[in-house]
């Protein structure tokens, strides 16, 4: 049987799934607020810590912290996409999706694009929320002046990195959701996974302060590169070259999305 590209990747079906995800997201405003609550409190209270600029790459702590908290927001909201797979299974809507004449690839792509949109929206909300707390964007060129162009490029690039971060963790969420079929199991595993990923990423303090073995783990954490890239794009300071961040995230994103699609297809047939 011949397969055409349009059969496998069906744009209108992907759009439909995206549309549903966004309608649901904006309808459940309390959930949005709830998921923003935790990162918001992290930012508000940790920013009060008397951290010497010398220990955080010469930055004010709020400037160091805010990109990390945006990374955290993306991480948490992306794993919600996995939860929505389980939610749909529990409420039966997954059947309605699976019986439609749409390829499994399109279904998973629709899910991921939808999850990315809602997660990005929350990441950007978090960025905006950081300003009243004293956060200032300095843009890309490190050491240089915060020109309008530098800020513009920095913000645009940071959006690109937000997309990559979301893709990575949505893929991970869907993969786990396909394996763990009930809600409590999923939240349990995610808690044991999400918090280490967050704390190891250098979102709260620089990797230099980690013990050596922990630093090794941090290098294996995709969010490390995500937070580093956001910090570089927004306040001009980072540990790795931006290109390395990009390569690491693109790789991790490709791997988890593929894995998520593969496991989802196997689980749902």
């Amino acid at each position: 049987m011949k397969t055409r590209i349009a059969d496998v990747i069906n744009p209108s079906a992907i759009y439909t799934l995206w549309l549903r995800e966004t309608i649901r997201f904006f309808r459940l405003r309390s959930r949005v607020l709830g998921s923003l609550g935790m990162p918001l409190f992290f930012l508000a209270f940790l920013a009060l810590l008397p951290v010497e600029p010398s220990s955080v790459h010469g930055l004010r702590y709020i400037d160091f912290l805010a990109p990390g908290i945006i990374g955290m927001t993306l991480l948490f909201s992306s794993t919600f996409a996995g939860l929505s797979v389980i939610w749909d299974r529990e409420f039966g809507f997954l059947r309605e999706i699976m019986v439609a004449p749409v390829s499994r690839v399109s279904i998973i792509l629709g899910r991921i694009v939808g999850g990315m949109t809602t997660s990005m929206f929350q990441g950007i909300l978090m960025l905006l929320a950081a300003f009243p707390m004293g956060f200032r964007i300095r843009g890309l060129p490190s050491g240089g002046e915060a020109t309008t162009l530098a800020i513009l490029i920095g913000v645009l690039l940071s959006v690109l990195f937000m997309i990559l971060i979301s893709a990575t963790f949505i893929g991970m969420g869907v993969a786990f959701a396909s394996k763990l079929k009930d809600m409590s199991g999923y939240s349990l595993v995610m808690n044991f996974l999400v918090f280490p990923i967050f704390f190891l990423s250098g979102a709260l303090f620089p990797l230099d302060d980690f013990p050596r073995w922990m630093r090794m783990l941090a290098y294996a954490d995709p969010l490390t590169y995500g937070v580093d890239a956001l910090r570089r794009c927004l306040v001009g300071v980072g540990e790795f070259p931006l290109l390395l961040d990009f390569a690491a995230l693109a790789l991790s994103g490709a791997v988890t999305v593929w894995l998520g699609a593969y496991l989802f297809e196997r689980a749902e047939g």
Partner: protein, 353 residues
């Protein structure tokens, strides 16, 4: 042409055969019922036909396409209404239907027209913008049926469409299904364990038990196999029971044996095992039922067996099931190994979902 051709269709779950070499055909435009008790394998069979489960062996074609190798072609041509709700309760009725229409690649104009049409059909046109979570069970069911019809499928699968609904809603849903079948010519395959549903709705019925089709035919022809009438005789065992210290069961058994010998009797047997039901004999008779009654009474009197009461009715599909399996379709839960096996089936399915 046949809308569905299933040949030796089999599905095993860990060695347990949920569906066991099932062969049947569904003609285009008919309402076909899969009738059987819970756990008989109806839903598994339906899921295989709807491309949601792959058969362990055997094959099935729906609208001429194989359910495994041409699953997408089959999906395009079928509508499925599942036993459990599959609506997004956080969306409105319109949004649920719109989602469905888009997934089936319907154009904008067609979408609007058909959504309005099917909503009117199920009497929900003024509820289009209400969140589904505010719908009653019956309204949700109607919306699901509307959605199953939205993309004008050639075959509509309904898995226990009226499960858990009140009598009035059930009746009106039967009417909807019949109307759709007549007006749009859609072939309908419906699973049910409600006898009345199968009798009212279906042109033809396949009776399923333990994964096997044990009879197929029109409700009339199936019922005809049980004779023309069922006469229920309650035996008065009180006189004997006091003196011989036994209940009416022995009397009933004796009567059944005597009546079985009569030439117009198709079958006679003691019915039920519950308290107070043991002394009831059910007789399937041929010919015109009414004229048999005096003869039955006479035969009982000759044998010295008292009759407390006697009733007369036309046979139902329930009687057909009883005759074929020796069990009643809904009186489950009497224990025993067969029920144990059945429930392991059911539990296993739940786990698989």
């Amino acid at each position: 042409m046949d809308a569905i051709v299933a040949e030796r269709l089999t599905k095993c779950f860990n060695g347990l055969k949920a569906v066991d070499s099932v062969t049947f055909r569904v003609r285009e435009g008919e309402i076909f019922g899969l009738l059987g008790p819970n756990g008989a394998g109806k839903t598994t069979l339906l899921k295989m036909l709807a491309t949601l489960l792959k058969p362990t062996s055997g094959s099935a074609r729906v609208c001429g396409y194989d359910v495994v190798s041409d699953a997408d072609e089959v999906r395009r041509r079928i509508g499925v209404v599942f036993q459990e709700p599959t609506l997004d309760i956080k969306l409105t009725a319109f949004e649920n239907l719109d989602f469905h229409a888009r997934m089936y690649g319907m154009g904008k104009e067609e979408r609007r027209r058909r959504i309005r049409e099917v909503l009117r059909l199920v009497g929900l046109e003024d509820k289009a913008d209400v969140l589904v979570e505010n719908f009653s069970g019956g309204m949700q069911r109607r919306l699901e049926i509307a959605r199953g019809l939205l993309h004008s499928p050639e075959v509509l699968f309904l898995d226990e469409p009226t499960l858990g609904l009140d009598v009035q809603t059930r009746k009106s849903i039967w009417e909807y299904i019949k109307e759709r079948n007549e007006e749009e010519g859609v072939t309908v395959v419906v699973t049910t364990h409600y006898m009345e549903e199968a009798e009212f709705l279906c042109d033809r019925v396949a009776i399923i038990d333990f994964g096997k089709v044990i009879a197929t035919g029109t409700p009339e022809s199936l019922k005809a196999s049980c004779g023309s009438a069922v006469i229920t005789i309650a035996v008065d065992g009180s006189a004997q029971s006091r003196s011989r210290n036994q209940d009416g069961v022995a009397e009933a058994e004796r009567l059944a044996a005597i009546l079985s010998e009569l030439e117009f009797v198709e079958e006679a047997g003691v019915r039920g095992c519950g308290r107070g039901r043991g002394s009831v004999v059910e007789v399937n008779v041929r010919g015109s039922g009414e004229t048999c009654i005096p003869e039955l009474v006479l035969a009982a009197a000759k044998a010295g067996i008292g009759i407390k009461s006697l009733s007369f009715r036309k046979p139902t599909l329930e009687d057909v099931f009883l005759k074929l399996t020796g069990r009643e379709i809904r009186d489950e839960g009497e224990g025993g190994f067969k029920d144990f096996v059945r429930w392991t089936h059911v539990l296993w399915h739940r786990r698989r979902r």
